[in-house]
Structure formats: C-alpha cells, structure tokens
Amino acid sequence: MIRDTTLGAKLWAAAVWSLVGFFVINLLAMIGTVITSSFATRWLGTWLPLGWTTRWYSSAWSEFQLWDVLIVTFQVAGLVVLLSGALGVTAAYALARREFAGKRLLVLLFLLPLLIPPITFGIPLATVLYRTGLAGTFWGVVVANLVPTVPFVILVMIPFIEQIDPKIEAAARVFGANTFKLFIHVLLPLLLPGILAALLLVLVRTIAMFELTFLVAGPTSQTLVVALYYAVFAAGVRAVQSIDAMAVVYMATTLVWLVIALRFVNPTQIVTRAKQQPAH
C-alpha cells in the first residue's frame, strides 16, 4: 500500500473521512432518535424530551401483543434455520465434492433467489401459496422464508466444505466409518464454525426479512418486522413513542443475534460471501 503525504492527498483524505463521518453520525442519530423517543414522556419542538419514562414499553407490549408476535417470530426463525441448515448443508456438500453435468446450471438456480429482490419473486410466490392455501398460515411464512435462505446456506457452505481435505474423509472410510458416522464424527466437528456462522446469518436475515413475510403472512403469522410495518403504516392510531418502543424491541432482537454472528464472521461477509460468486 502506498501512502501519499502531499497536501492535496491529505485534503482529499480529510474530505473522504468527513463524508464517512457525516454518514455515520446521521445513521447513529437516526437510531438515537428512535431510542430517545421510546423513553420520552412528551417530545415536541425541543432538542430532548421533557421527561423520561419506561411506560411505553409496557403499553407497546400489550397494545401490539408483542409476546405473541415474538413467539411467532422465533418459531418461524427457528424452523427456517433448522430446515435451511438441513437442506443447505447437504446440497453444499454434494456441490463441493462432486463434478457432474448440469452443476453450473444448478449453482445458477441457487444464485438467482439471492440476486433477484424478494418483492419481484415474492408476488408470484405468494400467488402460488394462496392457490395452495398455504399463504396466511404459519407454514406459509416458513416456506416463503426458506426460498432465499436455503441458497444462502449453500453458497456460504461450499467454500467451507471445499477447504476440508478429502483425504480426512478417505481415512475415515478406510477405518470403516459409514456415511452417517463420517458425517457425525468427522465432517460435523470440522464444519461447525461454518455452519454456525451461516445459520446465525440466516437467523438475522429471517428476523429482518420484511417483503416475503409481509406478502404471505396472515394476522396470526406475522413476524415482528411486519407488525412494526403495520404499526408505522397506521401511525396516528397509536402514540409515536409506543411504536418507537416496539422498534427498539425489534432492534434488540435483531442486534443480539448480529453481535453473536459477528464473533464468527467478518461483517464484510454478510454482504459479499453470497453475492461475490458471480464475479468468477
């Protein structure tokens, strides 16, 4: 790397950093606004609220039935994590270890749901799910969320599996391990960091997945982010602070898992691991 020390280079660096600073300050102030408002008694026309209270959390909890919504959210997310893990890791193993005709086509099939925005394929998907009667139910939401998460797990896991030396598997075979034993005693321990990272990211993505859940959810199968959308959409019906309290609950549920996930992955990989593939 080359560092320039001329005046022009320093001015340019200062300009770039102030741009980053401006962005980060606005981002944090936006999040700060939500948190401040959720603790405010009354906040109109002043820099800071007149007083502080936590009562909006209890009112949001009962008004929006947050307990029920949170249970649905975690049931959906948990099932999506388990199913996409089971479907994704096995498929990734086959794609990482075997060369066969049509493999490129298959990889493209798994790449498309990640590249096409959810709202574009969500409307035909919702149409099919409404015809089959699955939409509006709990399982409809799970199935819809699996469409982008299964390919996500596959594309995250392929490089993880490729880096494991096939000789280790061959050695286990020589000592008489069958496929199941090989998987439990050899592959699973070696792949665990990768699987954990992939599934934590799936969890974060599912909690934050708005479009697909919104298009197929019924009144009893809403996740937190969809409930938040309806609350903001009907703003004026409830106190602003109550909606902000709900937004803070949503932020907390998402960010807890993000913090845990970041122990295993580099933040850059959240965006690029799956998206970088077509570059090759």
Partner: protein, 302 residues
C-alpha cells in the same frame, strides 16, 4: 450354458452405477436433490406460473394486462418513478463508495467501521423508514441542527416526499455498495500499484490507468446488485414517501393489484414487467463490462 454365461458378463462392461459414478453421479450427488427440488418448486415454478398467469387476464385478450399497464399512466408512470429514484441513488452510492473504500483499504482496523455500516443492512428498510420519519421530520434532530447552524430558516420538508425515500435508500444502500466495493478493491494485488508508483505514476494516474480498468467488472456487478435492490424499494416508499404521487414505485403497483384489487393475474404481469426492467438494465451494464479488461488481478495470496 456354462460356457455362455462368462462371455455375456465380459460384454456387459461396467454397471450402470459405475458408469454414473464416473460421470460424478453417485449417492453423494443425490444429496443435492432435496434442495434442488425445493428451489424448483418454490422459485422456478412460481415464476413460470406467474408468467403464464399474466397472460390469462380477468377479462380481455391474452395481452390485456400488459395493454392496460402501458396505456394507464397511473401504472406505466411507476417505471419512470422507480428509475428516477433507483438510478441516481445507485450512482451516488457507488460514487461515494469508491473513494471511501480506497481510504478504508489502508486502515489496519476496519472492523469497527464495517460493523457500524452493517447495522442498517441488518435492521432493514422498515426500521430505517421508521427512524427517518422522526429524524428527518420538521421537528427532528436533522432539521433542528441545520436551523441552529443558521444554514436554513425554515425546516426542510424531507419526509413524505421523494427525498425521504432517497435518504432511506442511501442509508441502506450505501453500506451495501461500500462493502461490495471494498471486497473488490482489497482483492487487487497491491504489487500492481507499487509497480506503477515505481515507474513514476501519480496517485490519480495509478487510479485511472491501473485500478479503474481492473475494477470495472467489479463495479459493474456492484452497480447491478445495488440497482436491483434500490429498484425493488417497497416499505420506505410507502412509509416515508408519497405512495400516491412521486414515489409510487412499481412494487406498490404490483402490491395493490394483488392485495387491494385481488387481481393476481394483473399483479403477476406487473411483477414480470418489474423483473424485465431489472433484467434489461443488468444486461445493459454487464454487456458494457465486456469492453474492459478481464483477467487475473489478485495476487497469489488472494
């Protein structure tokens, strides 16, 4: 009889199973089947179904949905509205992401910055829309700061119009574009730049003649992915914008057809048009990518 049996076995050659295994099809390959069937059923089939359904309108000929879309300005204007939002936002994000990632590349500890930038992507557009409604509102901190600094007299109107959606697309889109750009910029072997510097190239010359040609394919892909995300803007266009006016984007038209008119045929037609416009822009950008250098640019270490 005893004499015939061994000869037939020789003629038979390897069994079907062995022949398939030699081509890469064995029990392990079958592990891909569940995921492939799932994707075919829930991704390819709905798309095909939606495509066919879009040609089976509630009333009128087989093209009636598309005729209605392109004759009703309330519908076809959504394409222009969406492009007017997504193209400038994507260009702006990319334009800012490039110098920033060239700076961040030199940092030793990038993790704090990348973590902060991953926040809006993780939180999603609904939360960003909700936050910006307060923050950019007439009494929000943004307008108060501008007034306090004496830059403006009256609070600017930044929500429930074009600029609210624009801001939300920058907040969620810039980190996405930046992280993609960063991964391309750090993937280029620094020895190439050092060689150029040794030969006396200035910083600007190194950027224009060394980095830019190598990064062009990466930028094209970054542009496509960021554009497609911005083009499908939905929650913030409803919550932060003017969903009946300047920010009536195409996804709103598709949503209204499906869930307000219950005309799934029309909704599928709008979704197909949305997909087609995205595809057209992506093909256009990627086709121009072929004009640039395509070859190894990363060092052996990667």
């Amino acid at each position: 009889m005893e004499a015939i049996a061994p000869t037939t076995r020789v003629v038979q050659g390897p069994s079907l199973r062995q022949r398939l295994a030699a081509r890469g099809f064995d029990a392990v390959t079958l592990l891909v089947v569940p995921a492939a069937v799932f994707s075919l059923l829930l991704f390819v089939y709905p798309f095909a179904f939606g495509f066919i359904l879009s040609f089976e309108p509630k009333n009128g000929g087989w093209l009636a949905n598309y005729q209605r879309f392109f004759s009703d300005s309330y519908l076809y204007d959504t394409i222009a509205n969406t492009l007017l939002l997504s193209v400038p936002v994507t260009l702006l994000n990319l334009l800012f992401a490039v110098p920033v990632s060239f700076r961040v590349r030199l940092m030793r500890r990038q993790r704090l910055l990348t973590t902060i930038l991953v926040l809006p992507i993780t939180l999603g557009t609904v939360l960003v829309a909700e936050g910006l409604l307060n923050y950019l509102g007439p009494q929000g901190w943004f307008n108060r700061t501008l007034v306090a600094l004496g830059l403006i007299d009256q609070p600017l109107r930044l929500v429930h119009n074009y600029w609210g959606v624009f801001a939300s697309l920058v907040i969620t889109g810039f980190p996405f574009t930046f992280l993609l750009t960063l991964s391309y910029v750090t993937g280029i072997d620094p020895a190439l730049e050092q060689a150029a510097a040794t030969l006396g190239a200035s910083a600007w010359q190194r950027f224009v003649h060394v980095y830019l040609p190598l990064l062009m394919p990466g930028f094209a892909i970054t542009f496509c992915l960021s554009f497609v995300q911005a083009f499908s803007v939905f929650p913030s266009a409803v919550l932060l914008g003017e969903p009946a006016g300047s920010t009536r984007v195409i996804s709103i038209a598709a949503y209204q057809a499906a869930f307000e008119e219950y005309d799934y045929s029309m909704a599928s037609a709008v979704a197909m048009i949305m997909g087609f416009v995205q595809l057209a822009i992506v093909v256009l950008v990627l086709a121009s990518r072929g004009l640039f250098y395509r070859g190894p640019a990363s060092g052996a270490k990667g």
